[in-house]
């Protein structure tokens, strides 16, 4: 029994590096392309390593004790009234407390460091992009560049991106795992996500919170390019035949599972705030 279960565990254990080798870069959280994602991944690995210090002995003890003390062929003496041991209790209260203290300090420091609302320091000036989760698409508004994009996000590399996020839909969650963690997109509320792409590429983004029938289709590509490419794309968007203001926004906000990307000229610079305060204006 012990051998078989040990084998099962071993197989699962081997599957992990095999998976990593096979899927490689597809494993967004482990192979991030931006500073925030990298920090978060490193924290994951450190805490994981700390936990293994406790977990591995537990597994070893599980197997060893099951083997040594099995009733049909025990390998050690029988002591039916051995019910406590002060030293043992000290060890297994003490070690976890120490471990927890270390992880707690790490948690405190890193939670402040990696607060999604915290701007990223960089020699490059940050770009502000306003995001609206719709049913069931993502609208990206570039207020300073006066353009907007549906289901597609283009950013220059090595530039801090400050995403201001709201929703005209049920609670969603904006997640681009290759760049960093997620944050909820909620009606009437504005959240912020500060990200940066340190490599060029196409990164998959999606909604990570169920928001209705078309929720699984709420994917978009985040394209990180050179500054020149990005400027070219902005220029292209500024010449778009489609415009985005109140009326065209109302049409856009209707429930739709259309996956097409579109770009707009932004004719209502205050659109995001209007959407944010939509329900307050109704009263």
């Amino acid at each position: 029994m012990l051998i078989f279960s040990g084998l099962m565990l071993l197989i699962i254990l081997i599957m992990q590096p095999l998976n990593i080798w096979h899927h490689g870069e597809n494993i967004a959280v482990l192979f991030p392309k931006g500073l925030i994602g990298v920090e978060e991944r490193n924290l994951l690995l450190i805490v994981q390593a700390l936990m293994l210090v406790i977990i591995i002995p537990v597994y070893i003890l599980t197997f060893v004790f099951s083997w040594v003390y099995r009733a049909d062929n025990p390998k050690d003496k029988y002591d039916p009234d051995l019910v406590d041991n002060f030293f043992a209790e000290c060890v297994w209260w003490g070690l976890p407390i120490v471990m927890v203290a270390i992880v707690s300090v790490l948690t405190w420091v890193k939670t402040y460091e990696l607060d999604p609302f915290k701007p990223i320091e960089s020699k490059n000036k940050e770009i502000k992009i306003q995001v609206v989760a719709l049913q069931w698409r993502w609208l990206f508004i570039y207020p300073e560049e006066k353009v907007a994009s549906l289901n597609f996000l283009q950013i220059p590399k090595d530039t801090p991106i400050r995403l201001e996020i709201t929703a005209d839909a049920p609670m969603n969650s904006l997640w681009i795992p290759q760049l960093g963690g997620q944050i909820y997109a909620m009606p009437n509320m504005k959240t912020e996500l500060n990200l940066i792409a340190n490599e060029e590429g196409d990164f998959r983004g999606s909604s990570a919170n169920i928001s209705g029938e078309g929720f699984s289709g709420m994917t978009f590509i985040t394209k990180a390019t050179s500054k020149e490419e990005y400027d070219k794309w902005i220029a292209l968007a500024k010449q778009s035949s489609k415009t985005l203001e109140n009326k065209s926004y109302q049409a856009l906000a209707l429930p739709s599972m259309n996956r097409e990307t579109e770009i707009f000229q932004l004719e209502e610079p205050n659109l995001f705030n209007k959407i944010l305060n939509k329900y307050m204006q109704m009263e």
Binding site: M1, F4, S5, M8, M15, N19, N26, I27, A28, V29, G37, E40, R41, L43, L44, V47, Q48, M51, V58, Y59, T62, F65, S66, Y69, R70, A71, Y78, D79, P80, D81, L82, V83, N85, W92, V100, T107, W108, K110, T111, A169, P170, S173, W175, P177, Q178, G180, G181, I183, M186, P187, M189, E192, R204, I210, G212, E213, G214, S216, M282, E283
Partner: protein, 663 residues
């Protein structure tokens, strides 16, 4: 006249129609069988109107097994859809239907399988382990069961009439508000959970009083079996947490039925408040589920290591510590909702702290085995499976409690893998262990060991295959609850492996069901040939016959130590001849099942806005209560002579069983 109920409510997709057809056929077959064997009177007198917790416990388990099948079917559908629905294929479930399936899966498993399992165990085991004849409030206990059963019935009705919620097992607004979920689905969910929740609260009160007030003489709190301690802590959590759920569900119901503005997007509503409230209940809830299972293992490991539990006081302290801390961790369920780093870090650290007592318990169990004699019978196999699967899930829980890590894996399949590890590895395996351990006590038969072992392998291996790859999928950006994904994500191969694991789990469940039937079918070979103590037990329940007589103990035991039966077995004096006395037990009553049935009607009527029916059934419930509370305390009397007769016949039966063993 019928509210918003129309014939449209009866039209479903093919798979749902099949399920409904199956339910109806099963129902008709049952009615036919009961009529054919002329068992209606027996059913009514022995089961439907009983207040005997041993019977009520068995009824809980029956409902649990039925709902387990339903929840499992939901799970298979989810995994099948996710294997098929890649790229251009859309699978076999529409998006909306898929969302109903996973919402039903979670609701069924948590509220009916897990909660039912722990209440079933409490009913069966607690009175026996504390040397009591009954629970504190037999009527309330029975009512708690029938409300639970009514909610389960409403859950099944929602499959047949109308559709279920599509907003997940916790139905967050604004998605669950009238604005985005106008139809009856979320209302079904509200009333199913509300009725079950009220049942849980009542049962919780009952068992808390039972444990605190009805222990036999000499059994101080620090001499109770750890299972009883764990149930004590669990009932404290139930009493403190469930009212939050009750209030929150009412507020959501008011939003939807009376157009109020608690959690709406307009009118000043605050849906983030719902998230806070529901998890203020939700986190204690998961501890309500796991603590009794920790208690189960604390009974099983000493028995099958032939050794006392290591570190009793430490275990008790750990239980109490967990109980308190479980109320200050709830925000870790929504680190990504945008709270300040101070708030996030505080709750993260609190969550990590709660891992300490759980780890301590694992060490205590391991060191119970140290220098013991370990027997790997079925219950111990399930403990082993628990250690392997629960521990890794606990570890990933620590990862999830660090907010910046959680930002990357929240709501992904990584989260799914973690909590299924806790619920399957902890709660379900604990239940399987308890089921195999205590089955002989309540039936007089031991479950087939070979089939149990086969089931164990399926569950251990199937679980690893079905849930370990999910961690990797979460890292690959796979969100939970997706009914479709693109081919270039690279997730497909892992989803296939996961589905294979699910099939293996299903085989395990099938083997268990078959094992149950086989044990009953081939009863003679599975007879418990000891005098009701097949495992050489240490606690009081093993001193009774299998099944125990209705009064549990002819004379109330007097204890002086922990593991009182162990002490008795190794005592030097011979046990004295018992002096029998008259025993009063509460009378059967039809009021709980009536109130349960009326609650079903009430829930259904409210869901479909059939206001006149809702009002009528509510008034009828009140009338039932008034009738019940207007009577005198009724009881049945078993005279000392009758007790003596029963005890003598039980003794003879045990001698007969033992003699089978010798031939």
């Amino acid at each position: 006249m019928f509210g918003r109920l129309t014939t449209d409510a009866f039209k479903h997709e093919a798979s749902q129609n099949a399920a409904v057809f199956g339910m109806i056929v099963t129902g008709i077959a049952l009615i036919f069988l009961i009529t054919y064997f002329k068992r209606w009177k027996w059913l009514y007198h022995e089961w439907l109107t009983t207040v005997d917790p041993k019977r009520i416990g068995i009824m809980y388990i029956v409902v649990v097994l039925v709902m387990f099948l339903k929840g499992f079917a939901d799970a298979m559908m989810i995994r099948l859809q996710q294997v098929l629905s890649v790229g251009d294929s859309q699978g076999f479930l529409s998006a909306g239907h898929f969302q109903e399936v996973f919402s039903a899966h979670g609701t069924t498993m948590i509220f009916f399988v897990a909660m039912g399992a722990i209440f079933g165990l409490m009913n069966l085991i607690i009175p026996l382990q504390i040397g009591a004849r009954d629970v504190a409030f037999p009527f309330v206990n029975a009512l708690g069961f029938w409300l639970f059963a009514a909610a389960a019935a409403l859950n099944l009705v929602s499959l047949a009439i109308g559709s279920f919620a599509r907003a997940g097992w916790l139905a967050y607004p604004p998605l669950s508000s009238l604005q985005y979920s106008p139809n009856e689905g979320v209302d079904y969910w509200i009333w199913i959970v509300q009725i079950a929740g009220i049942g849980s609260t009542l049962s919780g009160i009952n068992f808390l009083v039972t444990i605190l007030k009805m222990r036999c003489p000499g059994m101080t709190l620090m001499k109770m079996p750890i299972f009883v301690w764990s149930c004590l802590c669990s009932t404290v959590l139930i009493i403190l947490a469930f009212p939050i759920l009750t209030a929150t569900l009412f507020m959501l119901a008011f939003d939807r039925s009376l157009s109020m503005h608690f959690f709406t997007t307009d009118g000043g509503g605050n849906y983030m408040m719902y998230v806070n409230l529901i998890w203020a209940w939700g986190h204690p809830e998961v501890y309500i589920l796991i603590l009794p299972m920790f208690g189960v293992f604390s009974e099983i490991v000493p028995t099958f290591s032939e050794k006392r539990l290591f570190g009793y006081a430490s275990m008790v302290f750990a239980l109490i510590f967990i109980t308190f801390i479980s109320f200050i961790v709830w925000l870790h369920h929504f680190f990504t909702m945008g709270a300040s780093p101070f708030v996030n870090a505080f709750f993260g650290i609190m969550t990590i702290i709660i891992a300490i007592p759980t780890g301590v318990k694992i060490f205590n169990w391991l060191f119970t085995k140290f220098r013991g004699r370990v027997h790997f019978t079925s219950p111990m196999l399930w403990f082993f499976a628990f250690l392997l699967n629960f521990t890794v899930a606990g570890m990933t829980g620590i990862l999830l409690s660090v907010p910046p890590i959680d930002f990357q894996v929240h709501n992904s399949l990584f989260l799914i893998a973690h909590f299924h590890g806790m619920v399957i590895g902890g709660v379900l395996f604990g239940f399987f262990a308890a089921f195999t351990y205590w089955f002989p006590k309540f039936t007089g038969y031991v479950l087939n060991e070979k089939l149990n072992t086969a089931a164990f392998w399926c569950w251990l291996g199937g679980f690893l295959l079905a849930f370990m790859p999910l961690y990797m999928l979460g890292f690959m950006g796979a969100t939970r609850r997706l009914d479709h994904y693109e081919a270039d994500t690279g997730w497909h191969s892992l989803f296939i492996i996961v589905a294979i694991g699910a099939v293996i789990l299903f085989c395990g469940a099938l083997i268990q069901f078959f094992g149950l039937f086989w044990t009953i079918f081939d009863r003679k070979a599975h007879l418990d040939q000891t005098s009701g103590d097949p495992w050489n037990g240490r606690t009081l329940e093993w001193s009774t016959a299998s099944p125990p007589p209705v009064y549990n103990f002819a004379t109330i035991p007097v204890v002086a130590t922990r593991d009182p039966l162990w002490t008795l077995k190794h005592a030097e004096e011979d046990p004295q001849e018992p002096e029998y006395e008259d025993i009063y037990l509460p009378k059967n009553t039809a009021v709980p099942i009536c109130m349960g049935f009326l609650s079903l009607i009430f829930g259904f009527a409210t869901v479909w806005h059939i206001w006149w029916l809702g009002a009528l059934s509510f008034i009828a419930i009140l009338l039932c209560l008034i009738i019940r509370l207007s009577g005198k305390d009724e009881h049945i009397l078993i005279t000392a002579k009758e007790v003596e007769k029963i005890e003598t016949s039980l003794k003879n039966k045990r001698a007969l069983n033992a003699s089978y063993h010798l031939t």
